[in-house]
C-alpha cells in the first residue's frame, strides 16, 4: 500500500544495491578495527534494525546495542500505579496504546479496565481532546513520551486549548540527559552513538554535540530507513578509523541544527525540568518534565492528591533493567520466549511494542538471521 508517488522521496533509502555497497564498505573498514559497540537509543531504530535484519549485514566485530529507547518501558511502576489509583477513583484515564499494558506494581491499566475502570486508548493528545469534548467526563491524560511527545501537549496547554475537567498526569522523560548519564557511567563501554532521529527533529542535531566533545566518541543523527542506519554505522566506523570523532547529521532531510523552534518554545513555557526516576536505571538528573506553577490547575497530581506506595519494579527473573541500559540482550534473559512472550509479557520491555524484547520476539527472536537460515 506504500504508493510510489507519495513515498518516492524515501524509496532510495531502501535501495538494495546501495545497502549492499554500504555493507561491503563497512566490512572493509571493520577489518582494520577491534570490536566496536554502537548504541542507539530509539525504539524505532531497533524496529528498523530487527525488521530488516540489519545485524546480519554487519561484520562480527560490530555490535549494535539497543539503549533506553522506549519511553513507556522506563516509566516507573509507581507512576503507573498513580494512573491506576486515579482511574479506580472514578475518573477516566486516557493514554497511549503502548502504555496501556505496561504493568505497575500490581496491575496494568489494561487489567484495571477489565475490572470495569474507564480507560481509553488514544493515538495522540488531540484525539483525547476530541473524545473529551464529546463525552464531557472528568478525565486525566496519562502523558508519557520523550522530547518528541512533550510538545504535543505543551502547544495545547500554552494556547489554553485544554477543556475544563481534563487534567494531565505528566510522566515525560528526556533522552538527552539519559544519554549523558549512560556515557558517564563507567560500566558500559560504547564506541559510537546513533542519535534518535525523531527526538532530534525537535531538539535539533546541536543537542548531541556534547557526545564527541565530552565523551570523545562519534555520534550520528540517523533516520529510520535501512540505508540510514547502515550509513550511520559506516560513518561511525570511518570516524573511529580516522580517529576524528564528530557529530554527523545523516538525517538532514528531517533534522535541522536547531530543531523545531516552535515546539521547543512551547515546552519551555509550559514545563520545567526536574530529576526523574527511570525504571531499572534510577534517578537521572534533570531528566523529567513537570508542569510549571501557573499551569498547576491542570496537574492531576496536585489536584487529586494521589498517593501510592512503592513496590517491586520488575517480576523476579526479568532482566529488563539490564536490557534497557543495553547491558544485556533479550536472548540473555532466561524467560525470553519461554515464560515471557508477547501474549504473556512478564516485563515492560516485552509489553511495549517499542521494547527491545517485544521487537525481537516479533521479528525472529534472535540476533542474526543467518543463524536461522544456515
Amino acid at each position: 500500500m506504500l504508493k510510489e508517488n507519495s513515498m518516492e522521496i524515501l524509496r532510495k533509502f531502501r535501495d538494495r544495491k546501495l545497502i549492499q555497497a554500504v555493507s561491503k564498505s563497512i566490512e572493509k573498514i571493520a577489518k582494520k578495527l577491534d570490536y566496536v559497540r554502537i548504541m542507539h537509543v530509539c525504539g524505532t531504530h531497533e524496529h528498523t534494525i530487527t525488521f530488516f535484519g540489519l545485524r546480519s549485514l554487519l561484520p562480527d566485530n560490530v555490535e549494535l546495542i539497543a539503549g533506553p529507547g522506549c519511553p513507556v518501558c522506563i516509566v516507573p511502576a509507581r507512576e503507573v500505579d498513580e494512573a491506576i489509583e486515579i482511574v479506580f477513583s472514578g475518573i477516566r484515564v486516557y493514554t497511549y496504546g503502548d502504555m496501556y499494558r505496561v504493568p505497575g506494581t500490581k496491575m496494568s491499566l489494561a487489567d484495571a479496565r477489565s475490572e470495569g475502570a474507564d480507560v481509553k486508548v488514544v493515538y495522540g493528545f488531540n484525539d483525547a481532546i476530541r473524545l473529551h469534548m464529546k463525552d464531557r467526563k472528568k478525565s486525566v491524560f496519562f502523558a508519557v513520551g520523550f522530547e518528541t511527545t512533550a510538545p504535543t501537549l505543551a502547544a495545547f496547554i500554552s494556547r489554553r486549548l485544554i477543556p475544563d475537567d481534563l487534567m494531565i498526569l505528566p510522566s515525560f522523560r528526556l533522552t538527552v540527559p539519559i544519554m549523558k548519564y549512560i556515557l558517564s557511567s563507567f560500566d558500559i563501554n560504547i564506541d559510537g552513538i546513533i542519535c534518535p532521529g525523531h527526538v532530534s527533529t525537535i531538539v535539533g542535531a546541536s543537542a548531541w554535540s556534547f557526545i564527541p566533545r565530552i565523551s570523545g566518541i562519534p555520534a550520528v543523527v540517523a533516520g529510520f530507513e535501512p540505508l540510514d542506519v547502515m550509513l550511520a554505522v559506516f560513518s561511525i566506523l570511518k570516524m573511529i578509523l580516522e580517529g576524528k570523532p564528530r557529530l554527523v547529521n545523516e538525517y538532514s532531510r528531517a533534522v535541522s541544527w536547531r530543531g523545531n523552534i516552535t515546539a521547543k518554545r512551547y515546552v519551555r513555557e509550559v514545563f520545567y525540568r526536574a530529576d526523574g526516576e527511570w525504571r531499572g536505571i534510577g534517578r537521572v538528573k534533570r531528566s523529567r518534565l513537570l508542569l510549571r506553577k501557573r499551569f498547576k490547575h491542570l496537574d492531576a497530581r496536585s489536584r487529586l492528591s494521589v498517593s501510592v506506595d512503592t513496590g517491586p519494579e520488575f517480576k523476579p527473573g526479568c532482566r529488563c533493567a539490564d536490557i534497557i541500559l543495553g547491558k544485556a540482550k533479550p536472548t540473555d534473559c532466561p524467560l525470553f520466549m519461554r515464560a515471557c512472550t508477547p501474549d504473556r509479557p512478564q516485563g515492560p520491555c516485552m509489553v511495549s511494542s517499542e521494547g527491545t524484547c517485544s521487537i525481537w520476539a516479533k521479528y525472529g527472536g534472535y540476533e542474526r538471521i543467518q543463524w536461522h537460515y544456515d
Binding site: K28, G43, S56, L57, Y373
Partner: protein, 102 residues
C-alpha cells in the same frame, strides 16, 4: 553472500507492511506522510501511503499542501526536505565510489 540475499528477500517481502505496522501499533514513533489538505484550527489531512488521517499542525505552522512531513502521535513535527534527501544520497554515493576504487 547467500544470507545477504535471504535478508534482502526478507525485507522486500515485508517492506510494504512496514509503515502500516509502525503506524498503527506504535504510538510513540514517527512516520512520514504527505499533507493533502489544510483545515482550520491548525489541522490538516495527511496521506500515510494511501491511508488518510487528520493530524495537528500546531507544532509546524508553516506547513502547506504537498509538503512531506514526519508525523508523531498525530502531530506533524518536522518537514521532510526533498532536496536534502537527494543531496545526502549523492554525497554518500561519492564516498562509496571512492572506497570501492581503493
Amino acid at each position: 553472500m547467500l544470507y545477504i540475499l535471504v535478508i534482502i528477500r526478507h525485507y522486500k517481502a515485508h517492506s510494504k507492511s512496514f509503515y502500516l505496522t509502525v503506524q498503527y501499533r506504535n504510538v510513540c514513533l514517527g512516520v512520514p506522510a504527505k499533507i493533502v489538505k489544510l483545515l482550520d484550527k491548525n489541522r490538516a489531512i495527511a496521506d500515510f501511503g494511501g491511508i488518510k488521517k487528520e493530524i495537528s499542525t500546531i507544532l509546524l505552522p508553516e506547513v502547506s499542501t504537498g509538503d512531506y512531513v514526519i508525523v508523531h502521535a498525530g502531530f506533524a513535527i518536522s518537514k521532510l526536505s526533498k532536496r536534502e534527501a537527494n543531496e545526502i544520497i549523492a554525497s554518500w554515493k561519492e564516498v562509496l565510489e571512492v572506497l570501492k576504487s581503493t
